[in-house]
């Protein structure tokens, strides 16, 4: 917009910049605080007054974390479920979407109806639990990755994405005698990287953050996820720190407090997401807009 900036422009701009700075601060500072608390000695953090930089810098919290078999195990389970679960759901959802994207597909309308109903109607947690129990999935690693193999939200997005791909790409391979699976694997998937990246980020962060399935469907202690473990620690500290007067006294005697383990676990759990997130932002904004257009 050209033209001179009026007084109103200046006021609007100033107010806007001030408010947006406050919003950015409110969003980012909690992450920053958790980070500095994880590098600060636990007993010192408990004294309070930690705002900008670690006061008593230490790596003890991290070495404690990586020496506790309970946390290592949980970390391993979480990495594994994220890798396997995300790969499975990205591939399976794309495969089904590839079929449904074909406009000449016979019974296409019926298939869509089946998917749309499934998207909107649910039997509730208890019935789902009964089904998982009957399938023998309770207390297995499979419960983390199998029921999430098909993402209905991304099924719709992937269908409209695949329909944008020029049919000529697959046509010549089909004439050369390539099978559909081969066309899907070596032609469709490679040209769908933006879609795969969006799905990977979303489904990956869902897998990484999931804890309810660990709480509901798993009793085996060695199958707990890192998020579930964090929930346990936070639940313990939330009540104890707020009710017993000597909680601070008790924690102050230890170098590594429950709180410092908790913030360390939080940093470790946020870290992988922080690493991939900025690179995939462009894609997921596109994906989200595509999703919003389709409703």
């Amino acid at each position: 917009m050209n033209g001179r900036r009026t007084v109103e422009d200046r006021v609007v701009d100033t107010v806007n910049y001030v408010l947006l700075s406050i919003i950015a601060f409110l969003t980012l500072y909690p992450f920053y605080y958790v980070l500095i608390a994880s590098f600060n000695e636990g007993a010192d953090t408990a004294r309070g007054g930690l705002y900008l930089l670690p006061r008593e810098f230490t790596l003890d919290n991290y070495s404690y974390f990586f020496q506790d078999p309970k946390w290592i195990k949980a970390f391993g389970v979480t990495v594994l479920r994220t890798l396997i679960g995300t790969t499975l759901s990205v591939l399976f959802t794309s495969l089904v979407a590839y079929g449904l994207a074909r406009k000449d597909l016979i019974f296409r309308k019926v298939y869509f109806l089946v998917a749309i109903v499934a998207m909107n109607v649910s039997g509730g947690l208890i019935a789902y639990y009964v089904v998982l129990k009957s399938l023998g999935l309770l207390n297995t690693f499979g419960v983390y990755v199998i029921p999430s193999m098909l993402s209905l939200f991304f099924l719709l997005i992937a269908i409209s994405f695949f329909q944008e791909i020029p049919p000529e790409l697959g046509e010549s391979a089909r004439i050369d005698g390539a099978s559909e699976l081969r066309i899907f694997g070596s032609i469709v998937l490679p040209v769908s990287l933006p879609l795969l990246a969006t799905m990977g980020l979303f489904l990956g962060s869902q897998q990484w953050n999931a804890w309810l399935d660990s709480a509901y469907f798993v009793q085996n202690d060695s199958l707990r996820t890192i998020t579930y473990r964090m929930m346990e620690v936070i639940n313990q500290t939330m009540i104890s720190a707020n009710t017993s007067a000597n909680a601070a006294q008790f924690t102050a005697q230890l170098q590594v407090t429950q709180f410092s383990v908790q913030v360390t676990a939080m940093v470790i759990s946020i870290f992988p997401i922080m690493c991939v997130y900025p690179f995939l932002q462009k894609y997921f904004v596109q994906g989200m807009m595509l999703g919003s257009v389709k409703g």
């Binding site: 947006l20 399976f92 495969l95 208890i126 559909e180 899907f184 953050n209 707020n242 939080m266």
Partner: protein, 329 residues
């Protein structure tokens, strides 16, 4: 080809050819059909099978009888629904569920709209991108981490905010935010906005990006300042997406609307001390169901909630259709 065409009557020929192409077409696309069937099989097991589980709400179901028990158990009619309504917790549960959901809708709904307008009004593309990136970030963080952050900031002993206010001499007693029934709703609403509001701005930013720039130029010619242009160009153009998002929010209101999971929040921020305001229908169903093993009763609770949700989404859609012409379906 030519020969058969002349020999067979045209109506017969047509049907036989159609059947022929149908099976031929089907056989040709059999691999792709199998891809889709795999997906349908998945839905059958993980979506449709649980739907039959709704029957449990009306049956004397025992978990030991497995899936078959859903169909073979004895009918008990509305017994579990009566039990729920007569439960002394019931009025409290309904109040908490509704109040929490409505507060979230009222306070969280305008935030992404305002944020999207603010972001569009920023001239510096660096600032714009920076604030956007920052505001989406919490969406990718689990509720568990959010509750950990809540603990780090609000706990009475080690909480950053209490420490800061105490050392500034603004308060002499730490504020009890995490275990006080009076602060639970505020805590739940504000953490939900913190986590999800930035995320929903994407949709509104897309709506604003689609506005024809000539509308702004015309408004400017007519002497409209910045605020007038926002009021008379930006907002009216956002109407469609605002309505769609509003319908989605109302439809999912009992689950926490667009700003996320009431259930997870109550599981994480709720505790024995604030249960008076934090216990909601879903957490009650969870406790009755999986924790105490009362599967049929819990299913009845789930069903009551789904029923209210369906009524809400259908009626909000109808209202939106009547007043604005835009609707989801």
């Amino acid at each position: 080809m030519l020969k058969t065409r002349t020999l067979t009557p045209s109506y017969l020929e047509n049907t036989s050819q159609q059947e022929d192409t149908f099976t031929k077409r089907f056989r040709k696309q059999i691999t792709v059909q199998i891809f889709v069937w795999l997906g349908l099989l998945f839905l059958l097991v993980f979506s449709y099978l649980p739907m039959f589980g709704i029957l449990m709400a009306f049956k004397d179901y025992k978990i030991t009888s497995g899936i078959a028990g859903i169909f073979t158990s004895d009918w008990v009619g509305l017994r579990y629904f009566k039990e729920l309504v007569n439960d002394y917790n019931f009025p409290n549960l309904v109040r908490n569920t509704l109040v929490l959901s409505i507060l979230k809708l009222v306070f969280s709904f305008p935030v992404p709209i305002i944020l999207a307008i603010m972001l569009t009004e920023v001239r510096s593309s660096f600032v714009k991108r920076f604030v956007q990136t920052a505001s989406y970030l919490p969406h990718f963080i689990s509720w568990v981490v959010v509750s950990g952050i809540g603990f780090a900031f609000f706990s009475t002993e080690t909480g950053l905010i209490n420490n800061a206010l105490m050392s500034l001499g603004l308060i002499d007693q730490p504020l009890d935010i995490l275990t006080n029934p009076n602060s639970f709703w505020g805590l739940a609403v504000s953490t939900a906005i913190w986590k999800e509001a930035g995320w929903w701005t994407i949709i509104f930013l897309a709506a604003i990006a689609g506005i024809d720039p000539s509308q702004y130029e015309a408004a400017q010619m007519d002497g409209a300042g910045r605020l007038k242009r926002i009021m008379h160009v930006t907002l009216p153009n956002m109407k469609g997406s605002i309505i769609v998002v509003l319908i989605l929010s109302i439809g999912s209101i009992l689950g926490g609307g667009l700003v996320g999971s009431n259930f997870e929040q109550v599981m994480l921020f709720g505790n024995v001390l604030n249960s008076e305001t934090s216990q909601i229908i879903q957490t009650y169903a969870f406790n009755a169901g999986l924790a105490q093993g009362r599967f049929a009763f819990a299913t009845a609770i789930d069903l009551v909630q789904s029923f209210i949700s369906v009524i809400l989404i259908v009626s909000s859609n109808a209202i939106a259709k009547r007043f604005s012409g835009s609707s989801l379906y």
